[in-house]
């Protein structure tokens, strides 16, 4: 049942993937509850309304993950010879663009509210026959729902790392930053309570700027992935060590003089194209087959491997190195 790209996952990853799916569903159900709860109390506070929209937006990456999952599990077909892994990347891009567009819109609304000097009205509410200022209810709700994202955000982050899943990483990253939204809306409502009308608009601006920033960050990350940037670690902070490992493994083989590779990060798994310069003009087919199998065995994420026998290495990496050497020589 735990297939990825039609291939069985290692036990640890299979468990992580199952957990990730359960967690995403659970958090979706929880978020549906908070969306209803916040809608009941949000009233006329712009900060609260912005936080509510953010709550709704936070479901998009989760839905994208759950929608993409059945696709990335599929094996490659004649029609889709590279498999369906890009479904994750497409989901990531769609979610990111949604964040970007809505974040920009909310920013504009917050700024226009401040420019027009809108004074948000918040009156009272009757709860079980008691008349309460509605702001206290808003603050109570936001303070309570501030806490869970810490725990599920951390759990998602752990799974994202294990699964090398960038969409899950983005989702976890947003969940961990979610408390700033709640804290912002509490400040906004307290501002209204104290008669400092602009604090609500300022809080709304702060929250929407956070959404906009998430959108920018994720659009950038997903576009870089879809444009086949070299394989990186799950947070795109550094090149993935698997690249180095592949090159070293191939260079270490007895019949190989030199080797280099380029890796396509398909979002969760890697497709490796390796180029090998043999010591002699004659190469045994079984040697090449064994090299392919060895590279594939390096890491569970290495899915597709092709090894080409060449006279000379001419990947962009070597071209850049040659240029560098020439520049230094001429100086």
């Amino acid at each position: 049942m735990s297939l990825l790209g039609g291939r069985e996952l290692p036990e640890a990853q299979a468990r992580a993937l199952r957990k990730a799916r359960t967690l995403e569903w659970a958090v979706l159900a929880y978020t549906a509850g908070t969306i209803v709860l916040v809608a009941l109390v949000m009233g006329n506070s712009q900060a609260m309304q912005t936080a509510w929209v953010e709550d709704i937006l936070s479901t998009i990456p989760q839905l994208a993950f759950l929608a993409a999952l059945p696709f990335v599990r599929r094996a490659a077909t004649a029609k889709h010879p590279y498999g369906y892994h890009r479904a994750m990347g497409v989901g990531h891009l769609v979610a990111a663009v949604a964040l970007l567009a809505v974040g920009a819109n909310l920013c504009f609304e917050a700024i226009s509210g401040l420019v027009k000097q809108e004074h948000p009205p918040i009156g009272t509410m009757q709860v079980f026959g008691v008349t309460l200022w509605q702001g206290w209810l808003m603050i109570a709700v936001m303070a309570v729902i501030m806490i869970p994202p810490f725990f599920y955000g951390r759990a998602k982050m752990k799974l994202a790392k294990q699964l090398h899943n960038k969409l899950l990483y983005a989702d976890a990253d947003m969940a961990q930053a979610d408390w700033t939204t709640n804290a912002g809306s509490i400040v906004g409502v307290l501002g209204i309570g104290l008669g400092i009308w602009w604090l609500d608009g300022a809080a709304a601006l702060f929250i929407s700027a956070g959404i906009l920033w998430d959108g920018l960050k994720n659009t950038r990350a997903s576009v870089l992935d879809l444009m086949d940037m070299r394989a990186t670690t799950y947070d795109q902070s550094e090149p993935d060590p698997v690249h180095e490992q592949v090159d070293e493994l191939l260079r270490g083989l007895g019949w190989v003089r030199d080797a280099a590779s380029r890796i396509r990060d398909e979002g969760q798994v890697f497709h490796v194209e390796a180029y090998v310069v043999p010591k002699r003009a004659k190469v045994k087919v079984t040697d090449v087959d064994r090299a392919v199998a060895a590279v594939q065995a390096l890491d569970w994420r290495v899915h597709d491997v092709s090894v080409s026998i060449v006279q000379e290495l001419d990947l962009p990496e070597q071209q850049e190195e040659r240029q560098e050497r020439r520049r230094r020589g001429s100086r």
Binding site: N44, E118, H119, P120, P121, I122, G123, T124, M125, Q126, T131, W133, G135, W136, F150, R154, Q176, W179, A183, I186, L190, I192, G193, L194, G195, I196, W197
Partner: protein, 167 residues
């Protein structure tokens, strides 16, 4: 990991700060909610300027002094804060304009909770239900100035108390 810890510390810090700020403000005699323009303070022991649009039986302006159920509610509210009343008659549009300009403090005239003026005025919570001409039932509201939340809350509490037995 240290990053996580730092974040959690920061969160604890901000929570403690919020509590401290609230306590400090309460200590300084600040109340929540407060008015941006101090309407409730100005009205208390002063003058409550009310805009009226004729709409019997809520507001009737055929006599010298306005009468009607909403006029009664506003009069008892004014009594509760020790304010004297001044009435201004006009169309809803004129009165909402005066409300926005801060010339008057309240607009009444049998307005309902789906009034299009909600963009420009603060609606009270519906204090009663009223049958409309088309047979539907809508909540009756009054219009207060935007952002005058102490005034709005005081008025709503008064309306709650006045209509407690009736609705």
């Amino acid at each position: 990991m240290p990053d996580m810890k730092r974040r959690r510390m920061r969160r604890l810090g901000s929570g403690a700060l919020a509590v401290a700020v609230t306590a400090a403000l309460a200590g300084c005699g600040m109340t929540i909610p407060s008015d941006v323009e101090g309407t409730l303070d100005a009205v208390t022991g002063g003058v409550l300027e009310v805009g009226v649009t004729p709409n019997p039986p809520y507001v009737d302006t055929s006599d010298e002094q306005p009468t009607g159920s909403e006029v009664d509610l506003v009069t008892s509210f004014a009594d509760s804060v020790g304010a004297t009343l001044e009435w201004t008659e006009g169309s809803e549009q004129t009165l909402v304009g005066l409300l926005e300009a801060g010339e008057i403090d309240l607009v009444i005239g049998g307005l309902t909770d789906d009034t299009p003026w909600s963009e420009r005025a603060a609606l009270t919570r519906a204090y009663a239900q009223a049958e409309q001409a088309d047979g539907s039932s809508k909540g009756l509201v009054m219009l207060a100035p935007m952002g005058e939340n102490a005034f709005l809350s005081a008025l709503e509490r008064h309306l709650d108390a006045e209509t407690a037995g009736r609705s």
